[in-house]
Amino acid sequence: MPASAQHYDEMNLPGAGKNVREHVREHYRHLVEWLAAMPPERVAEKRREADLLFHRVGITFAVYGDEAGAERLIPFDTIPRIIPKEEWDLLAKGLKQRITALNRFLHDIYHEQKILKEGVIPSEQVLTNEAYQVAMIGLDLPNQVYAHISGIDLIRHEDGSYYVLEDNLRTPSGVSYMLEYRKMMMRLFPELFASQSVLPVEHYPGLLLDTLKAAAPREMREPTVVVLTPGQYNSAYFEHAFLAQQMGIELVEGADLFVKDGRVFMRTTGGRQRVDVIYRRVDDSYLDPLAFRPDSFLGVPGLLSVYRAGNVSLANAMGTGVADDKSTYPYVPDMIRFYLHEEPILKNVPTYQLKKAEDFQHVMDNLAKLVVKEVQGSGGYGMLIGPTSTKKEVEAFRLRIQANPANYIAQPTLSLSTCPTFVEQGIAPRHIDLRPFVLSSKDVKFVPGGLTRVALKDGSLVVNSSQGGGTKDTWVVE
């Protein structure tokens, strides 16, 4: 399927022919002129320079089950994705609204459960969810914040408006790439930044540290905050190390921490040191082998009991997964109305839940036109994109769905917007999405920007870096 059919072009106005510079959207005009004036050799040279620098600095991404590519670079495209300030402001408002409602929802379902009692969301939908954490029931968290750090995946549909594709409230990654790509772009093309006002994102680590400190179990002057990583073989290890370094805090592994006398400590060369806040990049079920998976070496034995006693904070909290689950997703607009008495600013993609008989029938009848996802899946694994799949693939997936319908949701195929991208043949439109990062403490904060992922194959809609997607710097311009 060509990338053209029906989609929103981020750069060109509808009806614009090739090389018609008058027909680009205003906020891209500057870039287009600059690109036109740039000799292709220089562009190629700059791209090689970027590759070399990324390799040397070791900004890498590990791909599961790929032995040869144990450490791979994510392809970086040097043409930025540009968002005008007014548009960003609206997005930011929508993100704040959505995250606030999601945090209220999480507090509610682990306390009074009002939203369930009033029948807005079916109880069994929440209480039987794998990610619903019984250990969280009745536990009071500082500022009632559960998802301190979230990454919301957005796409722009052919109607020009943004849709939320997925709320990532567990351990969303990608923010380090956002920061490194900006640094790289400023290094490669300083002239572009000198001539227009790109809003900065560099203060993100500072905001993150403030957010983590605010999550401390009680008021303290200098809480000790650490980043907990599964270790250097984790796919996002670069990011864990990067963030710890940028915040000037320790990057710990499970074995560095231990529980004694109802507190968490880390082992240091000078003896033990108490830890107050853990920015954990380890999944719930690996956090404490005494409470969850006994075979896990990634966690800290006894951590849960300290957490429940309120002597250490976790960011994000345990049990947030129930709110970003694909089966909970269809209810987010209702959550916003229920808790905030507002109309949702950001749109949800219409979603069919296959456990419902009428939805199931509709999906079965239209499988080749739909995108089907596993409720618990992530990273672009375990999904079917009807329109780009062969008949055989569709039928194989049908059998999987029939075996366990409740495990799937389906959505219409959205046409992701496109942005010009360097490909082998030159510059061509490629589909993109956007993941802004949202920080929640007493209030909600973010930096203007996010991670733009791009599907490098012509016509492809899969932007995940584990599936051959690339990335772009994201500019909010004033």
């Binding site: 070791g58 250097q232 560095d256 060369t269 003896g271």
Partner: protein, 313 residues
């Protein structure tokens, strides 16, 4: 500093230093082989690096015959040999990778680039006529890493553990290099003091970059006892055991620990020994035996450092 991090930095520095000294040992062996015409001596020359690194058993598990190319392949490039240059550079880089947020980006980039460059050497270059070029490259990378470290890292625990690792490893390695001579003793008494003997000692001095230092400090012919004096007790010689232990005790004294008395006590004891030792006495009671004791003590100090600061238990 986190114990795990200190451990990685300590070993990263040891492995880089070990890679350099491996290159030095292999350099001297390749040189000595040029002089040894008799087959028996040839075999001794080739055996020496295996004996002093205690890898002879591992070598003969996979090799039947000991030849120079086989030795160089095993000691330089074999991933199964934990002391090979390949393994040292690989693990130095792995350790740096695990703590790259605690070291400077220049340090990480140096070790990463070294590792990437290592893979561009072809086997026939390393085990053949170009071996010297490879050894020089290894030494250059080690010098570069040490310089980058010294020039960029904050004077804190990371620096202390890096210095500790470097000089503990160097002390160990210099002792082993000096012991090479024991393993290639000339078969006939009348050869001692002859031309071949001279070449052996001179090659040994060159391997630790101190042939010129010897001349400058002693203004004399090459005498075994003075070579030993230089490599063991001469503080001005930066690879001597005395100089290494100046650095080891200095680094240790800067580190604050809770249960590190045992480590600090032993380090001071060894330091005092090299400060006050008399080379004549050492020779009378046997240089090889003296070196063996020194190596045991250095090993024990390593264990105590591990327990005091780096233990994971």
């Amino acid at each position: 500093m986190l114990s795990r991090v200190a451990d990685r930095i300590f070993w990263m520095s040891r492995q880089m230093e070990r890679a350099e000294n491996m290159a030095r040992i292999l350099g001297v062996t390749s040189n000595l082989v040029l002089f040894g015409t008799k087959n028996e001596l040839q075999q001794k020359n080739l055996m020496a690096p295996l004996s002093i690194t205690e890898t002879d058993e591992t070598f003969f598990e996979t090799h039947k015959k000991l030849t120079l190319p086989a030795l160089l392949d095993f000691m330089a490039l074999d991933e199964k040999n934990p002391s090979s240059i390949y393994s040292c550079l690989k693990w130095a880089r792995e350790n740096a990778h695990a703590v790259r947020w605690q070291i400077t980006s220049e340090m990480w980039e140096t070790l990463n680039a070294t590792w990437l460059e290592l893979k561009s050497f072809k086997k026939k270059e390393v085990v053949g006529a170009d071996a010297t070029r490879f050894f020089d490259w290894v030494k250059d990378r080690s010098h570069l890493f040490r310089g980058v470290t010294y020039g960029t890292i904050v004077r804190g625990e990371a620096f202390n553990f890096s210095r500790l690792g470097t000089f503990l490893e160097r002390a160990d390695n210099t002792a082993r290099i000096l012991d090479v001579k024991y393993h290639i003793l000339l078969p006939r008494v009348e050869d001692v003091g002859g031309a071949l003997d001279y070449y052996q000692w001179a090659a040994l001095l060159r391997s630790v970059s101190s042939f010129e230092t010897y001349r400058t400090l002693y203004r004399d012919q090459i005498f075994p006892i003075k070579v030993a004096q230089l490599l063991l007790l001469e503080r001005k010689m930066p690879r001597s055991l005395a100089a290494c232990f100046d650095q080891v005790t200095e680094a240790l004294n800067r580190i604050d620990g809770q249960n590190d008395q045992a480590a600090k006590r032993l380090a001071s004891e060894i330091h005092a020994r090299f400060t006050h030792a008399d080379i004549e006495e050492i020779f009378q009671s046997g240089l090889h035996e003296y070196l063996e004791t020194a190596l045991d003590d250095i090993g024990e100090l390593g264990n105590r450092i591990q327990r005091a600061y780096l233990g994971t238990v």
